[in-house]
């Protein structure tokens, strides 16, 4: 049974060390930490972390966040606060794919020390396969919480990593509205090919979320919804409604900024 799900983006800059002296996006990091904290409060026996990766596969929980791949100077150990061990993960362990490493750090920062399941999902996985993975993860133990590391379009402006693609706006709105409304079926209809075009790497992970939620229609809290660098970052908490009459599918939350 799923106790709660949290949705966070997984850009490298979520790691405080990587943006240099300027925190750049403290509000994004705080929103992610709040979402991770929500998961702990749902009292899970295990937290599953899912993010996009080269392959669809599980990772051992003893991996580490590998920031030196993004900032080699951090490995020199001469920078103040270059706490590569800030994740609480084993320094000698194998590096995790970034979304999993960031997710583990968030859970560590939220104070979680319990059981973990780490899984990447590949972009070639179709909606049905993703949903099946989600259902399987949700059934691992009695109470499972899910942390989904997933990003929207990276083509939301002329200065975006992927330049501007106007299709980004309806696409990201479709995702956000589905999350906001707790409409998991809508996530399963996302166009994988369009998502690839838009560099929206989160598509398979969102569909894992949909599978994990199953028939439940969760109540959502949107904690962050912005694209400061042309990439859609969405932070949300989703709480399954286990009673017969869920209160609402639209609780509260932000909306996308005006188009450039």
């Amino acid at each position: 049974m799923l106790t709660a799900a949290a949705l966070c983006p997984a850009p490298p800059l979520l790691a405080r060390e990587l943006t240099g002296a300027d925190p750049v996006v403290p509000e994004l990091r705080q929103a992610c930490l709040d979402a991770a904290t929500d998961l702990l409060q749902s009292d899970p026996d295990m937290i599953a972390v899912v993010g996009p990766g080269e392959q669809t596969r599980a990772f051992g929980a003893l991996g580490r966040l590998d920031l030196a791949a993004y900032a080699p100077a951090l490995a020199l150990g001469r920078l103040d606060g270059s706490a590569l061990d800030g994740s609480g993960l084993d320094r000698d362990a194998q590096p995790l794919p970034l979304p999993l490493g960031l997710g583990c750090r968030l859970l560590d920062q939220a104070g979680y020390a319990g059981q973990l399941a780490l899984h990447t999902v590949n972009d070639r996985a179709g909606a049905a396969d993703c949903a099946a993975l989600g259902a399987r993860l949700a059934a691992t133990v009695a109470r499972v919480a899910l942390l989904v590391m997933a990003d929207g379009s990276a083509r939301r402006g002329l200065k975006a990593p992927g330049y501007l693609d106007e299709r980004s706006f309806p696409f990201d709105t479709q995702v956000t509205e589905a999350i906001r409304a707790g409409d998991m079926a809508a996530l399963l209809t996302l166009d994988a090919s369009l998502a690839r075009d838009l560099m929206a790497t989160g598509r398979p992970a969102w569909q894992v979320l949909a599978g994990a939620m199953g028939e439940q229609r969760p109540v959502s809290v949107i904690r962050y919804c912005d694209d400061p660098f042309g990439v859609a970052y969405l932070v949300a908490t989703l709480s399954p409604q286990h009673d017969a009459n869920p209160t609402s599918g639209r609780e509260r939350g932000g909306d996308w900024p005006d188009r450039p």
Binding site: P12, V24, L79
Partner: protein
């Protein structure tokens, strides 16, 4: 080390006044001349009001240390002890009143002046003339001030090099500055307040100054913090065939090399430009993070 960097572990904390500077935190020393006849922008801070404006500016531009000198390095009209003290001590007292925490350095070789400026609040005695007056180290020890131990070869104060030659200039530098540092330690100056300086142009021709720049890592490998004073000097001018007012790019190039080799104090005229170069090199070395990194990380 294969990358040409000195082993950082050998450098320790440097204490000046009530400030503590760890290795990897470069220090900029802004020059404020209380002279009518310095080689660079002569007399611009001869007037005391202008000099205090200059102090405000160098601190605003990012200087950690203000270096006050009352005598130019070049030969010229005699400046006796009384006149040197008149030019510097009260002014240092005024800086101390305005800036309780800034590190104040006095550029002098004389122990009498050293005593007067320490009483006025100086934290560092910047002896550019290689321990010519051995009593200066005793004054530094008495007041708990830092001491710069510089190499000048066999020059005496305010003389120009004349046909100087060294079998190995860097070996001579290392030998002399370490002897001076040993003398300072024996006089009671704490090891974390001793700085060494190759003293570009002092007792050196341009070839020598280029050589010590190229080999500065040998100085930082001693473990003593290294000060470099490169700013607009003749070795830059001769290398590029440019007059003093056009030597900033050359100065900054030499600054970058010295920063790469691990120099920790940079005595400069142009504080803001120097600070940019030093911070850039510091980030390349991996001692300092970028101010704001987003490219490719979103």
């Amino acid at each position: 080390m294969s990358d040409g960097l000195a082993p950082a572990a050998q450098q320790g904390m440097l204490r000046l006044g009530n400030r503590a500077f760890p290795p990897g935190q470069p220090i900029v020393m802004g020059i404020v001349n209380r002279t009518p006849d310095s080689f660079f922008r002569p007399a611009v801070t001869w007037d005391e009001t202008a000099a205090m404006e200059r102090v405000h500016q160098v601190i605003a531009d990012g200087a950690d240390i203000v270096d006050v000198g009352g005598i130019p390095a070049a030969p010229g009209a005699d400046v006796d002890v009384a006149e040197e003290i008149r030019r510097t001590a009260a002014f240092i007292g005024a800086i101390r009143s305005s800036y309780p925490d800034v590190v104040i350095s006095a550029d002098t070789w004389r122990h009498e002046t050293g005593r007067a400026v320490c009483e006025a609040g100086a934290d560092l005695l910047n002896d550019s003339w290689g321990g010519y007056d051995p009593l200066l180290a005793d004054v530094a020890a008495e007041f708990g001030a830092g001491l710069v131990c510089a190499h000048v070869g066999r020059q005496s104060p305010r003389t120009r090099p004349f046909r100087v030659a060294y079998a190995d200039v860097m070996a001579d530098v290392l030998d002399q500055v370490q002897q001076l540092a040993g003398r300072a330690l024996a006089a009671g100056v704490p090891s974390d307040r001793i700085v060494i300086d190759a003293a570009h142009d002092f007792g050196k021709n341009t070839w020598h100054s280029l050589e010590i720049t190229r080999r500065l890592a040998e100085m930082t490998a001693t473990g003593f913090p290294v000060l470099v004073s490169l700013s607009n000097k003749d070795f830059v001018g001769e290398t590029l065939n440019l007059p003093p007012e056009q030597r900033l790019p050359g100065t900054l190039a030499a600054t970058a090399i010295c920063a790469w080799h691990g120099a920790r104090i940079f005595r400069v005229h142009q504080v803001a430009e120097s600070r940019q170069v030093i911070n850039m090199v510091s980030a390349i070395r991996g001692d300092r993070p970028p101010a704001r990194a987003v490219r490719g990380l979103a």
